[in-house]
Subunit: 202 residues, 2 copies
DNA sequence: GGACGGTAACTTACCCTAGGGTCACTTTAC
DNA sequence: GTAAAGTGACCCTAGGGTAAGTTACCGTCC
């Protein structure tokens, strides 16, 4: 570290502890949803108590937002980079999947935070999640447009539907992956390549 | 009715009220998840109060189970009928979709009850939902097996993955449909047929 | 080098509300 | 007048959130 140690006293520096809590929170929120997750359980996972969690993040919403921003930021960044590189329309899905699998190999629940149906319908969380979804959807719509127009389909409502189904496909692939911790990002990508090649000739 | 009117007094016969409550419960549970849904809100939707709901269903779990059994029963029955009819492997997905859209045109949230991540991980609900999922997965695996083997893919793990992705596709189609109440079952089926034809040549 | 503040890290013990669940009671159609 | 349909008012717990104090590491002053 180039920075002189900020200070520090007991236990572990705040920054490090916050990172642990965000990881634990992401897993709990991803597994049980915002409504189902318990703050004391998240603290317990890390080996601290609830008040520390509140001191650092202020509220359940604050913690969720921290988890959401980390997940959403990494996700949109990874997808943007991949999409910017360009390529054949029917190669993009696999490239995006590969990027997602690589980015989230050790953080598989993160994806779910953007699509958690149990967050309160109004408020900061819903707004932030909707914003990340909107950005991802824009990429999905772009990819779907390229793919469908290359096949002679131009109905914009069809395109929206395909874009949304695509995000659902990612969702279920990640759920499947969560249940198979031994499958790493490379194996997952290879599997998807094999299946898409066989099923669609892509 | 062949039965003489059971009796009946004030308001509405129990059977009818229960049906209303199951419909309202399905929508609330589907929208907010088990953890996020509120019993008083479900009662309010129907225009009665919470104690009546408890008198009829005993508990939140009891109501959820009633909703789940109705949804799961109709779903497995519809899919079983469609699958039993047989056909070309690459025609089955569309046939199954058509059956699901027709069955749940006026009950679009029902599907979500089988895959609600906020139900407690152990207990009657989780067991019942897992059982319905298992039955549906069996159909999905059957369809995926036929489809993949017809393409020269035989890896059983690939088949499982495809089967799970398929359920995810249904999930996201239904989510998309929920947001577009004006699209009826026929239009939805036609859209899926057009897209699958264009994208995959099916 | 050891006493001593100072401060961040952390905890115990508590409050408070939302919401699941219940009891005793009232209404109304037969 | 009986019994099902329905309600107002309540209890209780889980869990979000907080106040006040305690612990341990650091620098520093003699």
């Amino acid at each position: 570290m180039t920075e002189s140690r900020p200070v520090g006293t007991k236990g572990m520096p705040r920054e490090e502890r916050e990172a642990q809590l965000v990881v634990a929170g992401t897993e709990e929120f991803g597994r049980s949803g915002y409504a189902g997750a318990s703050m004391v359980e998240i603290a317990r996972r890390v080996g601290v108590t609830k008040p520390l969690l509140y001191q650092y993040f202020g509220s359940k919403d604050g913690l969720y937002l921290a988890c959401l921003h980390r997940a959403g930021g990494r996700l949109t960044e990874g997808v943007a980079t991949t999409m910017a590189a360009g390529g054949e329309p029917d190669q993009m899905p696999l490239k995006v999947l590969a990027a997602i699998f690589t980015t989230f190999d050790h953080d598989r629940y993160a994806w779910r935070l953007l699509r958690d149906p149990t967050v309160p319908a109004t408020g900061d969380i819903a707004a932030a999640a909707a914003d990340y979804r909107r950005r991802l959807d824009a990429f999905a719509v772009l990819g779907a447009t390229q793919l469908l127009t290359s096949r002679g389909l131009a109905d914009p409502v069809d395109i929206e539907a395909v874009a949304q189904v695509w995000t659902g496909v990612v969702d279920s692939l990640i759920s499947w992956w969560i249940d198979r911790p031994d499958e790493d990002a490379g194996a997952m990508t290879a599997r998807c390549a094999r299946i898409m090649g066989g099923l669609f000739g892509w």
